[in-house]
Amino acid sequence: MENNDKDKGADKAKEAKKAAMKELRAQRKTMIAAASTKMKEQKKDIKAIKKNLNGQTATIPEIAEAIDMPKDKTLWYMATMKKYGQIVEGPKEGVFFKYFLSESDKTQEKAEV
């Protein structure tokens, strides 16, 4: 009996949270749409960078040229991917550093291919 009451209470709380989330989504509709678009673009850009780095090392200008992305934007992504452990900095070639995929991302990339 007591357990049944507890379950009912939990279900009610779940329902209330679901309704509140729905309302919040409606309130932030425009922001959510803009964020979703941004996320999709970023995902595409990062995928292109990773694909280009699959099995090879490359400098920022080389990656930028290969995927047709501005060099500053490529560097912005590369700095971020390095921070989150997706790529690793390699040796220097001339005035540029080379980068390659980290071990965990190599495996992931292979699986996706």
Binding site: A20, M21, L24, R25, R28, M31, I32, A34, A35, S36, K38, M39, Q42, K43, T59, I60, P61, A64, K71, D72, T74, L75, W76, Y77, M78, A79, T80, K82, K83, Y84, E89, K92, V95, F96, F97
Partner: protein, 435 residues
């Protein structure tokens, strides 16, 4: 807005940078109860964002982090971060202590009592946003802890970039994510207030002679601090436009300071020294690079500063006396600097891979209309006795310390902070004796 709570302290410190932390620690150690109110998500101010400090070249983080930690763990100090001050004035109510501040606690969308700072939310968040803590040179996530040694270790959710995908909520081991958090208002009553609101750099976007911030490899001095910091955006000095290791770097002094057209007619005092410091650090990390400092005159005013300047010259850093008139975008990401050399060689143009603007310092906080404390014509807080007690303001229970009263270096800021703590303690003990 949620109902108003009242909290009582001996002293309210406005600003949690090095000045605020030192003031709070000096008062807290004497047994006074202190509240620090900080607008950012972490205490530490500008100093925690610096690479090293002049003239000792000590690691800035190694000095600031222990102070941050000491304040956070001090039994007499309470931190209120990510807050907005909406009013700060004398208090005339029945519960009056002397000072009343109305404060809004901004929502982090994370329950501070439940969060353990594990960053799982940050790692799973799928959206990247420009990381202003790194001068916008790399990205962080839409929910993230501001920087690695931030205090408190609490993430902030950027709701403008949040899709409400629920991934952070799912992964959080302590159910700390709260999408429904609202701003909360509270009141602080105190006997004294100390303003330690620091400075900001004049935005480079305002300087049309130097490209309005649109020339890719023209950065400001705080961005260069991040490039030089071990936890910087690239973990080394690279050119933001293409990741090239720069071979020729120039500093443009008085970029905004001592320039009436920019609204900053005063000298910002620290730019000469921090430019020399950065130049020395650059020559350490890029030994083959040519480093040039374009200056009007070098102001090496403090103990050991002149020697520091002479050391920089001996290291091969080139000092050119001449005011830079214009910077244009050159080929392959270079910046073309045009200046009149004061050695008589006339108008000269030079190409550099990277240019750093030593932008002028402006006040970090405008008290109007929040607080009736008086401002000078330069918009910094007025010191009514600048020679014998620079921490006194026109309000008898309000004190000021650090760059809130005018541009100054860390040494002078820390000294002034001790003085402000002493004046506030004196005011409070006199009040007790009078009563």
């Amino acid at each position: 807005m949620v109902s108003t709570h009242i909290k009582k302290f001996d002293t309210l410190v406005v600003g949690g940078g090095i000045a605020g932390l030192q003031t709070a620690l000096d008062l807290g150690d004497q047994g006074y109860k202190v509240a620090i109110v900080e607008k950012d998500a972490s205490i530490g101010g500008k100093m925690i964002r610096l690479s090293k400090v002049f003239p000792t070249l000590d690691c800035a983080s190694c000095i600031t982090t222990p102070k941050m930690s000491a304040a956070a763990h001090h039994e007499n100090i309470t931190l209120f971060t990510y807050c907005n001050l909406t009013s700060l004035d004398h208090d005339t109510s029945s519960e009056a202590l002397g000072v009343k501040a109305v404060i809004i606690q901004n929502p982090r969308y994370v329950d501070p009592d439940k969060c353990i700072g594990c960053r799982q939310c940050e790692y799973v968040c799928p959206i990247y946003v420009s990381d202003e803590e790194q001068g916008g040179l790399s990205a962080t996530k839409a929910i993230s802890i501001p920087f690695s040694n931030a205090i408190p270790q609490l993430p902030i959710m950027d709701i403008e970039n949040c899709m409400l995908c629920g991934q952070c909520e799912k992964v959080c081991p302590t159910n700390a994510i709260d999408y429904f958090q609202k701003p909360e208002e509270f009141i602080i009553l105190a006997k004294t207030a100390i303003i330690t609101t620091g400075f900001e750099l004049l935005p480079k976007e305002d300087n049309f002679q130097y490209g309005n911030g649109k020339i890719p490899n023209v950065v400001d001095s705080l961005q260069m601090e991040r490039l030089l910091a071990p936890h910087g955006p690239y973990n080394r000095v690279l050119r933001p436009s293409d990741g090239m290791e720069p071979d020729s770097i120039a500093y443009v002094q008085c970029a905004g300071s001592r320039d009436k057209s920019m609204g900053v007619s005063y000298c910002s005092r620290v730019c000469c020294m921090y430019a020399i410091k950065q130049a020395m650090l650059l020559s350490g990390s890029l030994p083959l690079a040519d480093i040039t400092i374009y200056y009007m005159d070098i102001r090496a005013f403090g103990k050991g500063y002149e020697q520091f300047y002479q050391n920089a010259k001996a290291m091969g850093i080139e000092f050119i006396k001449g005011k830079v008139a214009k910077i244009d975008e050159g080929e392959n990401g270079s910046a073309i600097v045009r200046y009149e050399n004061q050695d008589g060689s006339g108008i000269v143009t030079a190409n550099h891979d990277l240019v750093v603007l030593s932008m002028g310092m402006i006040p970090g906080w405008n008290p109007e209309p929040i607080c009736p404390v008086s401002k000078d014509s330069d918009h910094f807080i007025t010191s009514i006795k600048p020679k014998i007690s620079p921490v006194l303001t026109n309000m008898n229970d309000f004190f000021v310390a650090g760059a809130a009263a005018g541009p100054k270096d860390i040494v002078d800021t820390v000294t002034e902070s001790g003085s402000a703590a002493m004046e506030a303690a004196k005011f409070m003990s006199n009040s007790i004796m009078e009563n």
